[in-house]
Symmetry: C2
Subunit: 339 residues, 2 copies
């Protein structure tokens, strides 16, 4: 099977100036992959250069663009010919195996859900992305699709996250933890407590509570949380990392002595930077849909957006959707047997 990825080329802060070069790099790196570039043909075509005749690449025209600040409900209702909508339609129609967009997250969620529909047994989609840890990385979900989750949703997130990691990383029984707070008396709110019970009773490899600092200690392969908490944890991390990086830079720029120190330390600093480069972690999968829809950071650059395309490709190649669907069918069969 050759994965075919549809790319919303008009989405994101930078639009085609980032998405098209990323797509071209990707085609070189993945010599079997096929891409469908979706967007305004007269804008996209000139950017393709010598790749314009690449048989693994085609353009599908879409006349409209979903704005980064546009209301998702309005984008869903009014922009039937947006690059985002058309890219998702291609997945639905079976012409693409996955789609990638750096556009408006809310609109991508709403349109993906409307067009692709939910998997049976899953009530809410979840945004799942990898985060670096001291010894590798972890996957966290939900990162912002749902602000009020019930215990059963968190259980579903656990199942989907475990199947994703199992498929993508060939781990047999990835560990699953639930994001919680540590004080004895108040260990979590009622939803988290009830969700922990469900996870414990499931056949997942549940390791219990993970506190905020446990995320980066790599205490679990998959960490579930509601979208409000997950989004706060993710953005807080981004903010802290940015502040530390900018402060380290300005310390090294303070005077000529520190500038010399920076020159000498540059390879060390670059290694450090590379290891935690957030661009390497770009590409969040919307789980729970009957299709693969990948969200890139809106501000992604060429390298970063390329990683989001790769994530979509790897998800298809590793049959993530089949793995999740299979696991859900099995869970339902057991549930029916137990009735």
């Amino acid at each position: 099977m050759t994965a075919r990825i549809a790319i919303d080329c008009m989405g994101g802060d930078h639009g085609p100036s980032v998405t098209v070069p990323s797509a071209i790099h990707f085609l070189v790196e993945y010599p079997a992959a096929k891409l469908i570039l979706v967007g305004q043909e007269d804008v996209l075509r000139p950017l393709l250069g010598s790749q314009v005749d690449n048989p693994r690449l085609r353009i599908v025209h879409a006349s409209e663009i979903v704005g980064m600040d546009e209301s998702p409900a309005l984008a869903l209702r009014n922009k039937k010919d947006s690059s985002m909508r058309v890219a998702i339609n291609l997945v639905k129609a079976g012409e693409a195996d996955a789609c990638v967009s750096a556009g408006n997250t809310g609109a991508l969620m709403a349109i993906s859900r409307f067009v692709l529909k939910m998997l049976p047994g899953i009530e809410r989609p979840a945004i799942c992305a990898p985060l670096p840890t001291i010894n590798g990385h972890t996957h966290m979900l939900d990162l912002g699709a749902n602000v009020d989750c019930g215990p059963e949703h968190l259980l579903q997130f656990g199942i989907m996250g475990a199947m994703l990691v199992s498929a993508m990383e060939h781990k047999d029984r990835p560990t699953v933890g639930i994001l919680n707070i540590g004080e004895e008396e108040i260990k979590g709110n009622e939803v988290v407590k009830a969700a922990a019970e469900l996870l414990r009773a499931s056949d997942l490899n549940f390791v219990g509570n993970v506190e905020g600092d446990g995320i980066y200690k790599g205490e679990a392969d998959v960490i579930v949380c509601d979208g409000f908490v997950g989004n706060v944890a993710l953005k807080t991390s981004e903010g802290l990392a940015q502040m530390l990086a900018s402060s380290l830079r300005s310390e090294f720029k303070r005077n000529w002595l520190t500038k010399i120190a920076a020159l000498i330390a540059i390879s060390v600093l670059n290694n450090f930077k590379k290891r935690f480069d957030h661009r390497r972690y770009n590409g969040a999968i919307l789980l729970g849909l009957k299709g693969i829809s990948v969200k890139s950071h809106g501000s992604a650059d060429v390298l970063s957006f390329g990683n989001a395309i790769s994530r979509a490709y790897e998800a298809v190649e590793n049959r993530v959707l089949e793995r999740i669907t299979g696991r859900l069918t099995q869970a339902q069969a057991i549930a029916v047997e137990n009735v």
Copy 2:
């Protein structure tokens, strides 16, 4: 007025080996302050050395210790003579103006609340601590006392936080933001939306939503959130900072070349480290009580615990409690007028 601080010397991971040296340093640094060291007298006295006759220092014996993992409810009920309880009792009795403990957070909350009682108009205490930002620092609350807050609690946190910053930092109208997530369609859960309305209608200097990354951008002087989210944000930050620091260390230790680079860059790295040293930010105030109770990180070292004592001292000297009480009385008077 000379602030008198009661110290639970037995609390924390390290107990008197940290708390007593911190207390001695503090007395040198603050030549007007008075300290009451609470704990097992035969343990504390030998640690005082030449300070044993310092007229600004006295020991109050307490026979019991609240364990770090002890149930707060049991500690409250059974350990009437714990160093924690006795220190809080001293505040209640008017013998001390504030107390500081590095012990069990849940127990400190429960006992402080039981002994000191809540301020009129405040339904729940909140844990409030400073966090560094790119251009200074912010104060966040609640950091873990309450896992399920209603909108009116978040409003109360906003009032208390603003009065704290106003008193401690002599800011006339500190800005107040609410921690939220940014997706258009789902901007926050119902509680956060309703709380934002209340904050907007109040006379606070409310600046609206702050996303996770906005914490470190210094978007508000005070950021309110429920204790679950606040605790996750705080611990996630701690975890990320630890991972980055340990990784930077190991990059510089990789080989003899990088070790030389480290030697040359050491003053820059130390400046950087100092600026964000979490020990500088130790000392969370439990707001909403009829007395000042300060929580130190359990793992605090001498420097760190000293900062928690200083925070308690500054809170007393700057009349934080009077400021909060005055503001609440005023709010109630307006509320009565409007009936």
